[in-house]
Subunit: 190 residues, 2 copies
């Protein structure tokens, strides 16, 4: 660790928005020189692989930064003080209309290590139950149910390009094929 | 597309750094209301899966935004006017000390659709040759060669958490197992 470490000299908040907190830090590099680091402080997020009737539920939504409609696994930002499990229970309900009492944590991922401290907690849900929750009306979403093989084909063709979604689909594929991995995470795919 | 579309009303650059360009846009939502969108404009990046002697080359480096040493596939930002293939040839040499004349494009990924327009072009390299290039001395890197199964185990254990790296490793695993997928992308794993 020590030979890699970059030590902060000072830190300036250069933009404070509703979503993004942007920082510009001066750092001391391991070679004794100084440099700057620009990055986002993010509250973290959670994403879930909802398995229903042997298929995966995905949501279609517009992503303004890339000006494209994307097909993604349900996900959402963690509210201040909230734990990721609570976030994902809520987002699963709001985005898909289903709830689950069988939500299992896989491993968290870092989407953007170059310029964001965001961590995304990854979950899988089985035994989905129809919920009465109303969808969050700030979001325009469409739920799509796809066989896993079809979703993986959309990864290979480039039609699914969202990184947290690709990771979730590959995990689902591994869990499907590997009894030991399912046992290790305590998952039953029914 | 139309029912999802968010139309820009105005756009303000709120921070212009060496790396990050941060924008705050006012948008018209499909439901007729307005909202704001905060996001990064990024020049794009490229990442590569270097396959050498049946193992995968990874690089260990410090990532200041998350204050952790990360194990990642070699990657780098696309310079202005550069194509992603040129970027990845350069980064492969600078970060690992190897070059390859067998670099094949897989599918690009979007790491952070919520707040960045970044696209990362994903490549795989085989038939690596030792290069005489000197490493880029602004970066403190250590090259690690791992069998794919060991690297995948580090994904399941959470030791590898960088999203572009996880995606590259899962792609490598699929390409290893699936003749048709290799043929489709014109890849020979030797």
């Amino acid at each position: 660790m020590k030979k890699f470490l970059e030590t902060p000299i000072n830190s300036e908040k250069v933009f404070s928005g509703r979503l993004l907190q942007v920082f510009l830090d001066k750092v001391l590099l391991p070679n004794g020189r100084t440099s700057t680091r620009e990055y986002i402080k993010h509250q973290g997020a959670a994403v879930i692989i909802p398995v229903h009737d042997g298929e995966i539920l995905l949501v279609k939504q517009y992503r303004y930064p890339i000006r494209q409609v994307m097909l993604e696994l349900p996900a959402g930002k963690i509210d201040p003080g909230e734990d990721a499990y609570t976030t994902i229970q809520r987002e699963l309900g709001e985005e898909t209309g289903y709830t689950s009492e069988h939500i299992v944590a896989l491993q968290p991922i870092h989407p953007c290590v170059g310029y964001s401290n965001e961590i995304i907690h990854l979950y899988i849900a089985t035994d989905l139950q129809k919920s009465d929750l109303l969808p969050d009306d700030d979001e325009t979403l469409e739920v799509i149910s796809l066989p896993l093989n079809k979703a993986l084909e959309m990864v290979y063709s480039g039609e699914i390009s969202d990184s947290k979604t690709i990771i979730g689909l590959f995990w689902a594929d591994k869990l499907r094929m590997d009894d030991n991995l399912r046992k290790r995470f305590g998952i039953s795919l029914g």
